[in-house]
Each structure stands twice: as structure tokens, then as C-alpha cells.
């Protein structure tokens, strides 16, 4: 999740200062984790250091000094490159659930119960997301974010179902090695 490219993109649509940028980010990507101010400022500094952004001017309207930033030509080119780049599909198999499962088997805990509880938690989250999605007056951005999360949770669920069916074989294999 390249935060710096997202912020750079927001800057490209209209220059803003840090506080405004954080607000715009949280508005546009409501299902993502909200950014911390510190993270925003650090990222902006790094963008300026790399020549992708520059200071637009400072304004102080009675309050603390606010530095506005805007994107450079180099930054615009970098954005185009990044947006067109294909995200590599799952190069690493990092699966926290699988890890917990193997550990459960090794320590003799009830792997089946864990899978059931994890599945219930997934379904709960899916119901919440669906309720958000179908609430009247929801804009399309929210729907799309929710859909993304739902599809991935669904993928996890499918994997858990097939794994639950293969649990005995898995247990034998894990315990043998």
C-alpha cells in the first residue's frame, strides 16, 4: 500500500497542506486505516527530498504556519509510471491463519475449534461490511472498498473450508515431520 504515491496523487489533483491532505486521504479511502499527522509530514518531506514534490507557498491566516505543497513534473511522471504498473499477484505466501493452524496442531490444541471461531469472526466482519455497503445513500467509493474487503474475506473463508475438510490429513503430515 504505497501511501506516498497516494498522497502524491492527491497533491497532483490540487495542492494542499499537510492537515488538509490527511483529511482528503481519509475521506477518499474511508475503509483504510486513517493516517497519522506525523506519517503525513514525514512522507511529504521525503517527497520533497526526492524531487517529486515542492513547496507551493506558506500561508498563515491567524493560525499556525501552514506549508502548502504541490507536485513537480518529475512527480507527475512518477505517478503515471506507478499507476500503470501491475501489482504482482501474491508473490509471498504469508498466511497468518495457516501459521496459527500449524502451531495449534503442533501444540495439540483444538485446530477445528480455532477454524470455526476464525470463520465466525470472518462472517461477522462480512456482515458488517455488507451492512455498510447496502446502507441507503452510500457512495460508490465506499461500496468498492467494501467489495474489495468482502472478496478477500470470502477467499479466506473458502480456503478455511477446504482446509477444515483436510484437517486429519494435515495433522498426520505435520506430526510426522
Amino acid at each position: 500500500m504505497s501511501t506516498r504515491h497516494i498522497l502524491l496523487g492527491l497533491l497532483a489533483s490540487s495542492p494542499s497542506h499537510g492537515y488538509d491532505l490527511k483529511r482528503r486521504h481519509d475521506e477518499r479511502f474511508p475503509q483504510a486505516r486513517p493516517l497519522a499527522y506525523g506519517q503525513v509530514y514525514t512522507t511529504l518531506q521525503r517527497l520533497v527530498r526526492d524531487g517529486l514534490a515542492e513547496v507551493d507557498g506558506t500561508a498563515s491566516d491567524g493560525g499556525p504556519e501552514r506549508t502548502a505543497y504541490r507536485v513537480t513534473d518529475e512527480g507527475a511522471r512518477e505517478l503515471t509510471r506507478w499507476a500503470a504498473e501491475i501489482a504482482p499477484p501474491a508473490p509471498f505466501v504469508t498466511n497468518e491463519i495457516f501459521a496459527k493452524l500449524v502451531v495449534s496442531i503442533l501444540t495439540g490444541a483444538d485446530a477445528d475449534a480455532y477454524l470455526l471461531a476464525q470463520r465466525a469472526a470472518h462472517m461477522r466482519r462480512m456482515r458488517e461490511l455488507t451492512a455498510v455497503k447496502t446502507a441507503p445513500g452510500t457512495d460508490l467509493t465506499t461500496v468498492l472498498s467494501a467489495d474489495y474487503a468482502l472478496t478477500h474475506l470470502d477467499a479466506d473463508l473458502r480456503w478455511m473450508t477446504t482446509t477444515a475438510a483436510r484437517l486429519t490429513t494435515l495433522t498426520a503430515e505435520v506430526c510426522a515431520t
Binding site: 470455526l116 470463520r119 462472517m123 462480512m126 456482515r127 447496502t134 441507503p136 472478496t151 470470502d154 473463508l157
Partner: protein, 231 residues
């Protein structure tokens, strides 16, 4: 939704047993459906989910056990009375096959009203309203074979809802649809059910479809296990 909890479940089944020939589809299944709630019934294929739905809707008589709807024994009623109940109080949406292929979408949706004695023009008018509500009014004069799967299923949903039923039984309604059409159908179903306080029994093996429900039960080897209870 609150009055349902004080009066007991709208539809309840206990100890359902049903065999199809030599295969035992249900072995002692219990399930409850409260007024206004959406219940998802999931489970692997062949586990008896559809048979459970058929028993609950009164389409089939169980070999043993009881089905109670609104304080009367559904499985004890004669077929004629059950058929009438299915026409007035229940609505059904299947995976396919429930629209008459020779009638237009409008006539299909108007059919339950006509069967209950409504005048044809009035039935067609109300059917038109429902089709418009589901954004299928452009298909009103087309036959099911000339529409896309999603449009046909939305028409089928309109037909199930046109009589204002208390319970809608949906058996894999999105099974033959692509993801966008599934979304549209489930959104239409969930929204209408919540607005009118209709209970929905939704049989599905798709988790994203089951996520539209308030509650989920799983059917495994002919018996029902509650997975989760949420308020």
C-alpha cells in the same frame, strides 16, 4: 422486527426427517425463522439445504417432524391449502425455472395477483411498479429467454414479492448469475425485505451472499448447526 421476538418465531421446524428414495436428506433438523429477519442457510452441496427449504415452505411434506407457521401445523395441511398459502403468504425465488417462458416478464409478475382474483389490468399495473422498482421495467414486454440472467432473476424476485408475502424463500438465487448481477439481486432483496419487514430464508453456498443475512445456520449431513447468533 421487535414484535417478532415477543410472539415467538414466525416459522419453526423441529425434528425434520426426509428421505429422497434411498438417500437421507434430512435427519432431525431444527430451525427457526423470526418475523422480519434474514436467515442464511449454508452448507456443502448435497447436505439437504434445499430439502429443508422445501419442507419449510410447505412444498414437500416431511417424513417426520413438524413445521409450524403462524401457530398452525403446516405439514398437516392438505396440498390445496398449502398451495394457497404459498400464493398469498410466501414468495419463492429459485435458481432457475420459475418464470413461465412463454409469458412476458410483466405477465409473469402479474400472475400471482391474477390467480388471487385481481383484475388483469390492475395486476399488470402493480407488476409494472415492482419491475420499475427493480430497474427491470425496460424488460417488461420481453420473454425470459430474451433477457439476461440478472434481469430474469430480478423479475422472478418481483414476482415473489408482488403479493406482499410474509416470508420469501430463496434457493440459491444467485447461483447462475455473475458477481454484478448477484450484487444487484441481493441488494434488491435485502432492501425490500427490510423496508417491508418480510422474513427471508436464504439458502446459499456463497459466503458473500450469506453476508446479507442477520443470522446464519449451517446444514451438515441433514442436521442444522447454528454458527452464530447476532442481534
Amino acid at each position: 422486527m421487535t414484535n417478532g421476538e415477543t410472539r415467538g418465531p414466525l416459522l419453526a421446524a423441529t425434528g425434520l426427517v426426509k428421505a429422497h428414495g434411498r438417500t437421507q436428506a434430512l435427519r432431525g433438523a431444527d430451525v427457526e425463522l423470526r418475523a422480519g429477519e434474514i436467515l442464511a442457510v449454508t452448507g456443502p452441496s448435497g447436505s439437504g439445504k434445499s430439502t429443508l427449504l422445501h419442507c419449510l415452505a410447505g412444498i414437500v411434506r416431511p417424513d417426520a417432524g413438524s413445521v409450524t407457521y403462524d401457530q398452525q401445523r403446516l405439514d398437516r395441511l392438505p396440498e390445496k391449502r398449502r398451495s394457497e398459502l404459498r400464493r398469498t403468504d410466501f414468495g419463492v425465488v429459485f435458481q432457475f425455472g420459475q418464470l413461465i417462458p412463454e409469458l412476458t416478464a410483466l405477465d409473469n409478475v402479474a400472475l400471482p395477483l391474477m390467480l388471487s382474483g385481481a383484475d388483469r389490468a390492475e395486476a399488470r399495473a402493480r407488476a409494472g411498479e415492482w419491475l420499475e422498482r427493480f430497474e427491470a421495467s425496460g424488460q417488461a414486454e420481453r420473454r425470459p429467454g430474451e433477457m439476461s440472467g440478472g434481469q430474469a432473476q430480478r423479475a422472478a424476485l418481483a414476482r415473489a414479492l408482488v403479493t406482499g408475502p410474509k416470508v420469501v424463500f430463496a434457493d440459491e438465487p444467485t447461483g447462475a448469475l455473475d458477481s454484478l448481477a448477484s450484487e444487484q439481486l441481493m441488494a434488491a432483496l435485502a432492501q425490500t425485505a427490510r423496508e417491508s419487514g418480510t422474513a427471508v430464508l436464504l439458502v446459499t453456498h456463497d459466503a458473500q451472499v450469506a453476508a446479507y443475512a442477520d443470522r446464519e445456520v449451517e446444514v451438515r449431513d441433514g442436521a442444522v448447526a447454528a454458527l452464530e447468533v447476532t442481534a
